[in-house]
Every structure is written in C-alpha cells, then in structure tokens.
Amino acid sequence: MNDYQHSVLLDVNKCTGCTTCLKHCPTEAIRINNGHAVINDSRCIDCGECIRNCPHSAKKAVSSRLESMDRFKYKIALPAPTLYGQFENLDDVDYVLDGLKKIGFDDVFEVSKAAELVSAYTRTYLKTEGIKKPVISSACPVIVRLIGLRFPSLSGNIIHMLPPMEVAAYLARQRALDNNPGLKEEDIGVCFISPCPAKVSYVKNGFADYKSQVDEVISISDIYFRLINEMSHGSDIESLSESGIIGIGWASSGGEASAIFNERYLAADGIENVNRVLDQLENGNISQLEFIELNACPGGCVGGVMTVQNPFIAKARLQALRHGLPVSRNNLTKEQSQYIPDSYLFNELPEYEPISRLSGSIAESMRMMADIQKLKSSLPGIDCGACGAPNCRAFAEDIIRGNAHFVSCPIKGNESVTVKENDIDG
C-alpha cells in the first residue's frame, strides 16, 4: 500500500520544524528533514493527530471543494451526524438538511439513518454462530487500517459490514434512481460531509477489492459558514430527517456500541487508548466482550479535525437534539432484520503489511536489530527530537537503515564520529 493516497498536506512556509507533530504521531511516521516535517506514507494511518497538534496550523486536511460536485446533474449530500452538533441553539435537524438543499444539493441522505440500519444488522450479526468475538467495529477507517498494519491477529474480529457512510451512499443512489426515472447512474454525484480526513483517504483508496460509492468528501469546517448563512429559522421547512436517538448517537464514542443492546461492550476513543486496548486484546486478557467500538479521535467522530466545534460541546448539543426523538427509525420489520443484505457487506480486508519490519530476511533483520541496540546505548536517551526522529531508538533505527547520520545528534554527534560508525560496521 505504498501508493496509498493520504489526506494530510504540509504548508512548508508555516512549518517551523518544531518537534510537536513528531512527538504526537502514534506510528512514528514523521521525521523533520531540512527544517520541516516529512510524512512516511506507508506508515501514516490518517489519524489526524499531527493536524490536531500542530501549533502553527502547518498541517492541513485535504478535502474536496463544494464546486467539485458541479460535474454531476443530480447532487446528493450525506451529512455525518457530527454536523448537527456544530450549531448553537439548533432544535431540529431539518434546518440543517434544508440548508444543504439550499446550497445546491438535490437530495440529502442522513448517514445517521444508515447507521441505524447498520446497528440493526450488527445485532443480527452478533447472533451468528461461529464468528470471532469480540466483534470489532469497521466504522472508523483509521482503526481498520491500524489493525491491518499492526494487529493482524485481530483482523478476523472486524465485522465485514460497510460503514454507515457507504450504506448511505448506496441507499441514496437507489432512491435517486427510483424517484427520478430519467436519471442515469453517472448523473448522480454523492458527497459526504465529513468530520475527518481519514474518510477522504478511505474514499480515494477504497480497500482490498472494495471501491467507495462516494464521489467527493467535503469537510464540515469548509461548508460550515455557507451552510449557516442558508439555514432559516422559519416554520416552512420540509420535514426531511429520518434519524432517531441511535443514529445521531453514532457521532460520539459509545453511541455505536450501546446500540447493540447488550452491556458486554467496550468503547474506546483517542488513538493512544485504542492502541492500548488492541495490545491487551491481542494478549487475550479482555474476556467476555461481545463488541468493541474504537474511534481514533478523542470523543469519537465529534473529535474529528475537520469540525469547527469542541467535541464535548458538540456532544452535549447532540444529546439535546436527540431528546424527544424515537429510539430508531430504521423501519425494518423483524423478518427483514434477520438477514443481512449482501449490499451491506464487504468481502476482503486489506492484507497485513509489516510496516515496521527492518528487512525482508529475518537473519538480516536480526543483525540490524543488534546494531540498533548497540547504537542506541551510545545515544543520550533523552528523546529530544532535535535530530529529526521522535526518539533515540527511532534515530538509531534510521541510522542503521541508512536514512540518517550520527552527526545529527545534537549531544553526541560531535563526539568521535568515525569511531562510532566503525564500531557499528565492525
């Protein structure tokens, strides 16, 4: 997946080469080179931590502009439920949906509506015999990629259910064709209004044999001001919303998991917490769980870096919005919910990629590891980051891989350089 397209861009003019992103990257994918940050694409999981933490706003999420939808005759917006939590004093989701139509969309299909269908089918799936428990949610694309890259033994626990965004795209296209007989497949454009750059990458790359049914991904922060200007507070708006408490609850951590109606679940958010949970799960010491919901962003999707509002404030607003709504409006009959339609499932997960592997040969990797250990012990061990690597161990690895030089160490770099390098070769 070296040709994996990411959604994080660096503004070289704003980057001062400070070590903030270096220290926050959970996969050690960043190095400071020639005074600015460089991301190693094969290690990046699109979690957005570097964007979230950059003090100079030099890291940006890449997403489409609204104008990119102009090429389609029939435009559909798929708002993430997080969008509803961005507005002050919003008492009805319909104002948001109506606003989306006013800025040029022909139809709006709520991702929270699709989420309620995914929840219903997840409950069915959990009753299937012979599945690996605990079942891990596939909704957060960062998590799916993280497990593929670092926790291959847990791949079999991921539910092969498409995320609500994809289900929404599929159902929205069906609805467009049903309601507009003259419309052709290629006339329809589907646009996801996203809280995070990982969804942008997901749509660009798909995974394994799956290709996304979404055409463009626009960030919530880009569309926010245009939308708020068009949102009227009159009473003459269409009744469009079809979401209940469950669907809107998906925007924050625990919303998806609580919808399985079984208390044996775990919901963790924030990439560091997620890593710890996966490590413990891999060691086999989290037992008796049915379902695990993991979100890379703190607080869940409301914590995405393409939102405008603080995640906790957004969550509080969503709680208020949910008040008075039905639990779920998926409208499935008991019989319908018994069988999961094929269109909700994907076949394959991405193949395991040992990103941290030193070399293709185990013997060679062992030799390199021995050299790294030896070199590391001669480094100061204060993990200052001034050499451009996040810590002394990573720096030692970079040297042995031939990507860095000992002289870059600000403390030991000037000390008898030749002796050090001879030491390693011998």
């Binding site: 291959p152 060691n283 086999g284 941290s356 030193l358 590891m369 021995a370």
Partner: protein
C-alpha cells in the same frame, strides 16, 4: 548467526498498573524483525502471562528474550516464594492469588496453563523460598 539477539526487561513488582509493558515492547521488537503474526502473538501472550505472574506472586523479576534463527527462548526469573506443587499450579483454574488481585480480573488460574499452551516447550525450575525460573521455547517456522 549463532549468537542470539537478547532483549532484557526488568519487571517492576511494585508497579501493578504498568504490568504487561515488557510484553508490548517485545511485540514491537519482533514486528521489526519481521516474524509471522502468529509467532508474535504466541510470544506476546506467553510473555504477558509470565509477567503478570511475577508481579502478582513474586514482586517482580527479570525477563530475557533470546532470539535465535530457529526459535525464541523466554527466561522469566524471580526471587519469589517458589511453587510448592507444580502439578497443582499447572491446573486450569488453580490460583493462589489474593482476593484483591482477583477483583482486578487477574488470578483466574490460567497463567501457567496459557504459557504452556502458547509455547512449544516449557520448563519450570523452582525452589520454595528461593524463587522460580520459567523457560519457554517457541519455534519459528
């Protein structure tokens, strides 16, 4: 390469909260070597159970993981109370852990049985009042 690659960890018995850290570290290192996910999983579970045992029963100890081209040897050594009846200790569900430990979700009596299950060979050298050394071998193939 006949010389093994050695990873040494001190298991701090005072710090129950960070128990399991060595297992996570060894997992990271084995990934860098490029071993198969299944071998890494076995080593990490065996190591984790051993680590927890040393923290619960022996106030910590040391873990040495030796990586040879064909196998991994894990030597867990402590100066704890020793095991008076190995046969009993190997039974699933048998545990001498305190109620406090159990209330934290540990002490289920699966530690040693799991260590045996996930390794290809396991030997226990123990003397009551002196300490215990557990050696596990996991083949790489």
């Amino acid at each position: 390469m006949s010389e093994p690659l050695v990873f040494h960890y001190d298991i701090d018995g005072e710090d129950f909260i960070s128990a399991g850290q060595a297992s996570i570290q060894i997992k990271k290192n084995l990934r860098r070597i490029g071993l198969s996910p299944e071998v890494i999983r076995r080593v990490s579970i065996a190591m984790y159970e051993g680590e927890i045992n040393m923290v619960i029963h022996a106030k910590g100890g040391t873990a040495d993981v030796m990586l040879y081209e064909d196998r991994i040897e894990i030597i867990l050594a402590d100066k704890g109370p020793g095991i008076s009846n190995i046969e009993e200790a190997m039974q699933e569900g048998f545990s001498t852990a305190s109620d406090t430990i159990r209330s934290l979700g540990f002490g289920a009596g699966m530690g040693l049985p799991n260590m045996k299950r996930y390794s290809d060979k396991m030997t226990i050298d123990t003397t009551v009042g002196v300490g215990t050394t557990v050696t596990m071998v996991i083949n790489i193939t």
